[in-house]
Every structure is written in structure tokens, then in C-alpha cells.
């Protein structure tokens, strides 16, 4: 009896691990879409409303979902407190503080950091061109991550179950 329960627990745990791992891929697509939306909003704030950068970050944060909300909130706080010399360092530190909640990989983070390098350092036209570049890059990353998700989502789920089955049979 205990043997059967143990086997069921192992099988359930490995299946769940597979599902949880495959969820990461979904979260990455979701967060990338959220970042894209936030960048569009930031562009609007800067181009048409001429908001100051910390306030622009704050207002974008209020319209975003977690954890992007937290990223923008944190950056806004760091910029308001004048803790850092430039926007890049502030964004970098904000990303590092909430890294555990972000499912983005280093390429995606680099796109955001590249944007932050030019924010507040040039006129509206210059910033607009960087926004266009960032959005194009984000679109590319979203496409890549969606392809990855479609290809690997089911694979990780099946693999989790079958790996558990192998372990159960080996222990039996």
C-alpha cells in the first residue's frame, strides 16, 4: 500500500515539475508582451505629455501588471531618490532586485537595458528612434519566445511525466 502511494507521489511530483517548468515559457511571453505595452506607454508619456522620467515611470507602473509594475515602480523610486548617476544604473539595479520574479532571459533584459541607456540623454526625436528600435527588438524577442513556447510547452509536460514513470519503475 505504502509502495503504491509512494509511486503516485513521485509520479505526481515529476509531472507537476514538468508543468511548472513549462509555465515559465508562458510567463516569459506574457511578461515580454507587458514590457512591450509599457514601452509604448512610456513613449507616449515622453513624446506627447513631456513628463519627467521618474513621473513617467510611475504612471506607466500604475497601468502595468506585476511584476513589470514593480520594475517600473522601483526604477521610479531610485530615480526620484537620486541614488544613481544615470537611468541605466537605476534600471539595472531595479531589474536585479526583482530578478526572481522575472522570467525574461538575458537577451530580453538587454533590450530593456539598451533602451535605458538612451532615456533622458537626448531630444524627443532621438528618444523616439530608440523607442522604435526597442519595440522592434521586443517584437523579435516575442516572436522567438512564442516559437519556443509552442515547440517546448508540451515536450516539458510529457517529459516530466515520463521521467517520473522511469524513476517509479526503477524503484519498483
Amino acid at each position: 500500500m505504502i509502495k503504491i502511494i509512494g509511486c503516485a507521489v513521485i509520479l505526481g511530483a515529476s509531472t507537476m515539475a514538468g508543468f511548472i517548468y513549462s509555465e515559465r515559457l508562458k510567463y516569459r511571453v506574457f511578461q515580454l508582451n507587458e514590457v512591450q505595452r509599457a514601452v509604448h506607454q512610456l513613449q507616449n508619456e515622453i513624446t506627447y505629455v513631456h513628463t519627467l522620467l521618474p513621473d513617467a515611470f510611475k504612471s506607466v507602473a500604475n497601468k502595468s501588471k506585476e511584476p513589470i509594475k514593480e520594475l517600473f515602480n522601483k526604477t521610479s523610486e531610485l530615480l526620484t531618490d537620486n541614488d544613481y548617476e544615470n537611468v541605466y544604473e537605476a534600471v539595472n539595479s531595479a531589474i536585479n532586485t526583482i530578478k526572481s520574479k522575472l522570467y525574461l532571459d538575458s537577451d530580453d533584459i538587454n533590450v530593456i537595458l539598451d533602451l535605458s541607456k538612451t532615456l533622458g540623454e537626448s531630444d524627443i526625436d532621438g528618444q523616439n528612434s530608440i523607442f522604435t528600435l526597442t519595440i522592434a527588438n521586443l517584437k523579435k524577442q516575442i516572436k522567438i519566445s512564442e516559437e519556443l513556447m509552442n515547440k517546448n510547452l508540451k515536450m516539458y509536460r510529457y517529459l516530466g511525466f515520463y521521467f517520473g514513470a522511469v524513476v517509479v519503475i526503477a524503484l519498483l
Binding site: 517546448n152 515536450m155 517529459l159 515520463y162 521521467f163 522511469v166 519503475i169 519498483l172
Partner: protein, 65 residues
């Protein structure tokens, strides 16, 4: 007498390893599929290694005077 459950165990492991190999290959991860195959071979080897060693000792005792 050899118990048949070991044979079934090896068969089931083999089937599962084949399925894992197929899934990994269809996902474009050939290198991991090779590692999974190797792991399966080692797993089955560990199951039969007792029997193999028993065979060797019995053969050895056969030729000892």
C-alpha cells in the same frame, strides 16, 4: 529460478526511454536525447548487474576443483 518481474521492468523502462527519446528528438533536442538513452542503458545495466555477477561466480565455481 529467474523471476519474470525483472524482465517486465526492463521492458517497461525500454518503452519509456524510447518515448522520451522520441519526444526529445521531435522537440529538436538531439543531444539531450542521446544523454537520455545513455541514462536508460545505465539504468537497465544496474538492474541486471547482480545477475551478471552471479553468472560469473557460478561459472567460476564450475571450473574450480
Amino acid at each position: 529460478m529467474l523471476d519474470v518481474s525483472l524482465l517486465f521492468k526492463i521492458g517497461a523502462t525500454g518503452i519509456l526511454i524510447i518515448i522520451i527519446d522520441k519526444i526529445l528528438k521531435s522537440g529538436g533536442k538531439e543531444d539531450i536525447a542521446v544523454v537520455a538513452n545513455l541514462a536508460g542503458i545505465i539504468l537497465i545495466l544496474m538492474m541486471v548487474i547482480n545477475l551478471v555477477s552471479k553468472l560469473f561466480t557460478s561459472v567460476k565455481t564450475l571450473f574450480q576443483f
